[in-house]
């Protein structure tokens, strides 16, 4: 059913008795043309675009838990396209453009809100790097501005401008950056995919892959054997484990990233900001909670939980940047398992197994990529050719020396 203000009003007057399920709960069929493994944001978006843009049919999404239960449901909701390198920026700008029309397309309000993101700098060298980046963004058709210290102060007068260990000198700003309601992104894609006939199958864990003569034939799951002509894997966090079923080792480590939210507060921070002299970034949700995070814990983990030192480190960054934060209370923390890749950039590519495609390695930046990742992965699966904006995300780039290393940290995943 189509959502609209009239619908909400009419249902309000009649006791909300007419709302329909946002998605069906179909039993898995014996086989599909395309099976997407992973009912997180990327998997759901992939299924949606396959059906919507590429005319594919007989599609299923297999989710081991609940739809949207991957990192799309545990992130800090930031969207931006402020990347430096030519392998990345066109892709993220494509994603931003998809965000900008997403809600009307999906008929679902995911609260995409372009309230602006600023990356603070504290040294001349950081400024120079941001000038380089801002220019790269504009050359790729994105927007960027350089704010000086006073420009930052006008936006956020409560930052520590007077007593900071690392003085704020300015910021790179992308006004089109912002946030989106993370769960709603998953639900919007799920609802739209379901409406296009995609089978969304929850509580269905893949336990094996049927590969014959180098070609994927189907999957073993906790809900039985499911045949497939093509299989796309989008299970960030667990990519290594799932692809091990196909005998592949990946350039990926799984790490835990914690994130945090405070109790609800009246509007305090309008946009998104990142601290340039510590690991801290923050925005405020429409409910009023300050949503913030920092660095990954730094060790391999599948535990979906972290430890105290990182919580302290993030709080220290917060207090160094916003001294008023001391009296806000941390309400809840959570942890997600990140696919940390060897250059900090993702992989959207074919694999050595024919018909098996991989979408992985999103590090802690997968949420903002959701629309473009889904679109480009669908393009790859449907046409067997990479989408032009994702052509650099190849699995063999490490062998060929074509890394996409925004931070310049090399093959040490926990430093990206």
């Amino acid at each position: 059913m189509r959502y609209s203000i009239w619908n909400v009003l009419a249902q309000g007057l009649t006791g909300h008795r007419g709302w329909k399920p946002v998605w069906r709960d179909p039993a898995p069929q014996a086989d599909y043309d395309i099976v997407i493994v992973g009912g997180g944001g990327h998997g759901l978006a992939t299924a949606y675009y396959l059906a919507r843009e590429f005319g594919a049919r007989r599609i299923a999404v297999l989710e081991k838990g609940w739809l949207g239960g991957g990192n799309v449901g545990r992130n800090t909701t930031i969207i931006r396209s402020n990347y430096l390198l030519p392998g990345n920026e066109p892709f993220y700008e494509f994603s931003m453009k998809l965000w900008e029309g997403l809600e009307q397309e999906l008929n679902y309000n995911a609260m995409v809100s372009q309230r602006g993101i600023i990356n603070l700098f504290h040294t001349d060298a950081q400024r120079d790097a941001f000038v380089r980046r801002g220019n790269a963004m504009i050359l790729h058709g994105a927007d960027a501005e350089l704010l000086d210290r006073e420009g930052v102060r006008r936006l956020y007068p409560f930052l520590d401008f007077d007593n900071a260990r690392f003085p704020i000198k300015g910021a790179l700003m992308q006004r089109r950056g912002g946030t989106a309601r993370h769960d709603a992104v998953a639900w919007g894609y799920a609802r739209a995919a379901d409406a296009l006939g995609v089978d969304l199958i929850q509580n269905c864990e893949v336990t094996g892959m049927r590969i014959e003569a180098g070609r994927i034939r189907g999957l073993e799951t906790t809900r039985g054997r499911i045949g497939a002509r093509k299989v796309g894997v989008a299970v960030a966090g667990w990519s290594s484990r799932v692809m091990a079923m196909a005998g592949l080792r990946l350039p990926i480590e799984s790490h835990v990233l914690q994130a945090f939210v405070t109790e609800g507060l009246k509007p305090f921070i309008d946009g998104v900001m990142t601290f340039g002299a510590g690991h801290f970034y923050v925005s405020q949700s429409d409910k009023g909670g300050l949503v913030f995070g920092g660095d990954i814990d730094g060790y391999n983990s599948y535990a979906q939980r972290g430890n105290l030192p990182v919580i302290e480190d993030v709080a220290e960054g917060g207090m160094a940047l916003i001294p008023a934060l001391g009296r806000a209370r941390l309400l809840r923390s959570w942890g997600g398992v990140m696919d940390m890749s060897m250059d900090g950039s993702p992989i959207i590519d074919r694999t050595p197994v024919e018909g098996l495609y991989l979408n992985a390695g999103w590090c802690y930046g997968g949420f903002k990529a959701t629309p473009a990742s889904g679109f480009c992965f669908a393009h790859l699966i449907a046409r067997d050719a990479p989408h032009p904006t994702a052509a650099a995300y190849r699995l063999d780039r490490f062998r060929r020396g074509l890394m996409i290393d925004e931070k310049g940290q090399g093959a040490t995943p926990n430093l990206h």
Partner: protein, 984 residues
Amino acid sequence: MSGPFRLPSGGLIDRGRTLRFTFDGRAFAGHPGDTLASALLAGGVRLMGRSFKYHRPRGPLSAGSEEPNALVTLRSGARAEPNTRATVAEIYDGLQATSQNRWPSLRFDLMAVNDLIHPFLAAGFYYKTFMWPARFWERLYEPLIRRAAGLGRLSGEADPDGYDKGFRHCDLLVIGAGPAGLMAALTAGRAGARVILADEDFLPGGRLNAERLEVADMPGADWAAAVVAELAALPNLRLMPRTTVIGAFDHGIYGAVERVADHLPEPPPGRPRQVLWRIYARRAVLAAGATERPIAFPGNDRPGVMLAGAMRAYANRWAVAAGRRVALFVNNEDGLRTAADLAERGVEVVAVIDARPEGARLPGLRHLRGAEVVATAGRLGLRSVTLRHSDGRRETIAADALGVSGGWNPNLQLTVHHRGRPRWDEAIAAFVPGPGGPPGLAAAGAAAGLMSTHGALASGRARALEALADLGIAARAADLPRAEDAPVSLRPVWHVAGARGRAWIDQQNDVTVKDIALAHAENFTGAEHLKRYTTLGMATDQGRTGNVIGLAVMAGLTGRSIAETGTTAARPPYTPVAIGALAGRSRGKAFRPVRLTPSHRWAEEQGAVFVEAGLWLRTQYIPRPGETHWRQSVDREVLATRASVGICDVSTLGKIDIQGADAGAFLDRVYANTFSTLPVGRCRYGIMLREDGIVFDDGTTARLAEDEWVMTTTTANAVAVFRHLEFCRQCLWPALDVQLISTTEAWAQYSVAGPNARRLLERIVDQDISDAAFPYMAAGRVTVCGGLRARLFRISFSGELAYEIAVPARYGDGLIRALVEAGRDFDAVVYGTEALGVLRVEKGHVAGGELNGQMTALNMGLGRMVSRKKDAIGVVLSGREGLTDPGGHRLVGVRPVDPSAGLTAGSHLLEPGAAKVAENDLGWLTSKVYSPHLGHDIALAYLRGGEARIGSRMRAVNLLAGTETEVEITSPHFIDPQGERLRG
């Protein structure tokens, strides 16, 4: 008497002292021992807050940290604390509290219009609308939503209070000082184990303080006080009241926050407001008790409706009557205690509405079996309760307070911090700790689902004995004091069926039974979907009061069991924690340590301007009288250095001593170029690659003796390079005879550069340093100033005749003064990092902007340094196709065609006439300085096909500023490309 609702006697308050405070400007009084909620209730105030969505009037639901409704802003100005639970805030003389999330006043809140239009604001309504037109979201809809959302307000001012952190260790951490915790602590304490007993309350005793139950034939509170007195006297036990254990982390590490001064107007001088403790516990007993849950029925959120156990606590502990005419609605035996206690204290109990049809009736009270509450009335406070008798007959009873008990949920949160799953216990209709809890943590008492006092005491003792046995600590089982062991006798009633009107489940977030039904209709039926769609359990109580009810209602709709419906994971912190406490002292200037250079004191005396370089504070430049712009100072420092001599503190460079018979072979493997052939007494520039072939670091390494070398690294990479070398030494080539030690802090090192550098140093160094005796790239041990041991290196970053001289760090201050004195005749200058940057860019040396972790030696024009004749880190992978592109980026120089035009680092390089799009982007300016020597800006740049473009003209485009400059591509060596000066 402090208020009309204060009972004439009893309570654990000090009636001898009166504390005065205000709420929304109105004056009240209370006593030591009161919370803000107890004192306000005593003063006749029931309305304390407004709900999140509908702005419904609300009073306290609870008497503890789970409070969802009575949230106030405590204190004012920079100390204002939004969302403080009135139920746990201790009052002090002069306390100021303000209600929040209302306008213009708590009693008359215009935003309560939301309550009138509630049919349109059901769960998730915002996902279905506000989409047209698209740009109205940021401009209209969202600002309205944001303004309405949120609870309290941050002041925006810097938190004036201090916070601290500490570490504590123990054999047994006991979390909670109720009967189970006290018994556990007593057992372990008497056994001599190191025990920490932490309790979130300011008064240990837990529920014993809230009950009239007897323990060991005395009032429970007295027994608790006696045990606490014994514990306090034990040298091996630390009692930590006002301390909440917020999280169970790995390997027995617990986070705990102690509220040191929240009960005072402000922290005493020198004392923190709160302390974050990291407690290392070999074993832990979770004795955190249980949280009572309400029942969902229409109008169950009015001020005056509260948990029965809270009502009892207010009467017994604080001697406060929740109302004049009190009704109760219960489904279990414990709720009846409230009726008995209130009656005993002389409060009129008008009805006990008991959902259980069978069983004995309370004597002397109107105990209605098989009845349920179906409606309430009263806008700003409860006036009446409508009930439905077992025969279906309805009756409305005037009442100003209604105590509700739907059973108790164990406070098992810490047991699921490691992602363990709780287990559903039918007997108490609640989740209890399940498998997968933190190793070493065991739950006791109500936290374990044992709801009687006897059960708490016995399990507390048992869990402690087990922990001690595990640790090999001999212990004796203390006698168990006599205590009640009543059954729970609960009949689950989650919500009252067949009653019209909204029944609240999550009171703060305004989640009602209808919202759960809506979520069900739309297929958001799992625990996580339910939570995320309706916001159930996402309020500041983290679902402690509402979660289980919501899940149970959903289970009823789906026909699944509650266990199958599942629960969401509890995550740290157990209760919300001030971010200040988590940050401790690391804020402001103390955010990170400051490293000072050996010349810092001298530079300060000269009025130097300093700049942050990582943790270091370095001299940026030293202005002289009359210089009003930094460029004047920097230009002078540069020109004076090139004209005569300049001195610069370079102690921040990493310094690593490398010794052993295989040190040369080791260096050959960690540097891309060869070192083993270096003669003693010489040094060489080296580039170090990462294993992926990208340049990691550069610097010079000197051979001081056959088996003794000293390496320098960049300032930024000093720590990382040392770590990498240790990795190579210990993990890759463990049998090489080589030893490493970082000596960065051990040596003060100064660069002395310029045509008069030798003449200056000859006055300092005791040995012959003529060009013949100490040629370019010589290195060795010398003495200075008549015998002080020193190291001298003839190396140059500036392109001038230059040396670096190092003395033990404690002589660094002396040496800078001696160098300045010796240089007086030469008009020597001391230059800072700005001039250092100018000198190195003029000479074309790579540094931060070029050593960015993305570039190869080939990119830097140093490709020939990578020796393929030996095995060295990074050499193999530096040969990959993507890193050897002949048309790839190369380091070049850039100068403006018009010398008066400025350059900006970060500008991109485009061909003349090329459109400003990414396809035409050929490179960027990495570092830019003004060269006073050349009289114009110069820059280094990475440019595609750079070498071939030298001499050509391009455009340096800075789209951020909307500028572009015509530039000429040059060699990166702007000055003395043949290197004649440095060999002088």
